[in-house]
Symmetry: C2
Subunit: 265 residues, 2 copies
């Protein structure tokens, strides 16, 4: 049960604004979707405040939970409370060191006008490499630690997405050959979720993952959405599993009195 | 640095849909805001898939990180992959037991038509109490464990919010007398974040928390938003700290060439 197979990925989101509810964590949803599409099992997301000890804990926990890839967002800027690189260095038990390439990146952005707050953005955990930021000023960071590949991206969504596309995704594609993934979405009208539950459980034996979402009612009849996903060594295998489960669900829920239609893909 | 003082609270969000990015975690933002307003320091949010081991880990980690209050959302429904109560029971090392009051709640919702999938929603970790769900079918759960008060709420936002308002908030208010919190928001036009950084750092010495957010530029001049918050034993004390910091920031950033205006409250 739980998530489909695939190397485990973890997300770390850094920023008080996420925890006090001033900002909704859309970065995690975006990264979760992209990593899933690339074949990873996103096994957790840890949101922590701008606090060294919390940040260090989050990276340690992700790696101890078996993450092969960790992607963080937030805390890479010039201010005193941007401390993701330092928090990761603390977790790794290494120093922060001034990286020449990162310094060149930062210096270019500010046309050579460097201040201590700006130079700070070029201090990386020892052993790490900077990632170019095409849209903003803070470089990203890539480093390996305890069998995991860790990427630190900025919190500004446009910057994080651009750097994921230009750097993280190509790196992941070069290292992992992900399995193929297929999905389908069904709408079932006429049986409540608790009645559909035993059928859904039975469908799992076909090697798929099924999640049911109650969507209220239509003309008094309970409406359910069923998301069916499967992975396979080949795309054909994944598709076949999904099709078998879709047929099974339509037939069995129909037998219970539901009208079932496929809404995607 | 980090979050303001106040008893530590943690959020646990359960559901594959959050990790694969099909759903954005608005529950965490809503709960984070409410807990912050009640005077808690929201010190982390852990998002885990529908998987017993992951759920048990999340509750254990929250408590080990010093949470006095843990609020989870998701995984309380009738389907096979709703397993938050069982995951918490595993963490606590106790059985799931059929709770008479919870069973009465569930039975009422279904007018006595109980099935195994429905009865499942009345199985709580030993020692827990059910929380009435005014909008949906799955009861919530309240239990104490290792010095923390743990609340399990459903994942449907309207249900979680209603149960927080009707049950969780009154419970928290009866147990903790929170400190008062004040805030202000400033807009600074004309200096980049990296130049404002030393001034912001200096303002922290006034007992406030300041977070700066770059908001692009206006007519070529960099625009920053500064959020100033403080807590105090009394509301007056919190307000005074904020006012002192606002005056300091306006004066010092003005000295660097910025135009500073207060936009809230």
């Amino acid at each position: 049960m739980g998530l489909a197979a695939g190397p485990r990925a973890f997300l770390v989101s850094v920023g008080n604004e996420l925890l006090i509810g001033r900002v909704v964590n859309t970065n995690a949803a975006w990264l979760g979707r992209r990593l899933t599409e690339l074949g990873f099992a996103v096994a957790g997301c840890i949101v922590v405040p701008d606090d060294l000890d919390s940040i260090a804990w989050a990276f340690t926990a992700a790696v101890e939970r078996g993450a092969r890839v960790v992607v963080s967002t937030g805390g890479l800027g010039p201010t005193y409370d941007d401390m993701t690189a330092e928090g990761l260095a603390r977790a790794m038990g290494v120093d922060l060191v001034l990286d020449e390439e990162a310094l060149r990146m930062v210096s270019e952005k500010y046309r050579g006008e460097l201040t201590e707050s700006r130079v700070k953005m070029a201090r990386l955990p020892r052993g790490a490499r900077p990632i170019a930021n095409p849209l903003g000023t803070a470089p990203g960071v890539e480093v390996e630690w305890r069998g995991a590949l860790i990427f630190l991206l900025p919190g500004v969504p446009a910057e994080a997405e651009a750097m994921f596309a230009s750097h993280v995704e190509p790196r992941l594609r070069s290292l992992w050959q992900p399995a193929c993934r297929a999905e389908a979405v069904l709408r079932s009208l006429g049986v409540p979720e608790s009645v559909a539950a035993p059928v859904v459980r039975e469908a799992l034996k076909l090697g798929v993952y099924v999640k049911s979402h109650p969507r209220g009612a239509e003309l008094g009849a309970p409406l359910l959405e069923l998301h069916v996903t499967a992975q396979g060594g080949s795309c054909e295998e994944a598709r076949e599993k999904v099709e078998r489960a879709v047929r099974f669900l339509a037939e069995e829920l129909g037998r219970l009195g539901a009208r079932v239609e496929r809404v995607a893909p």
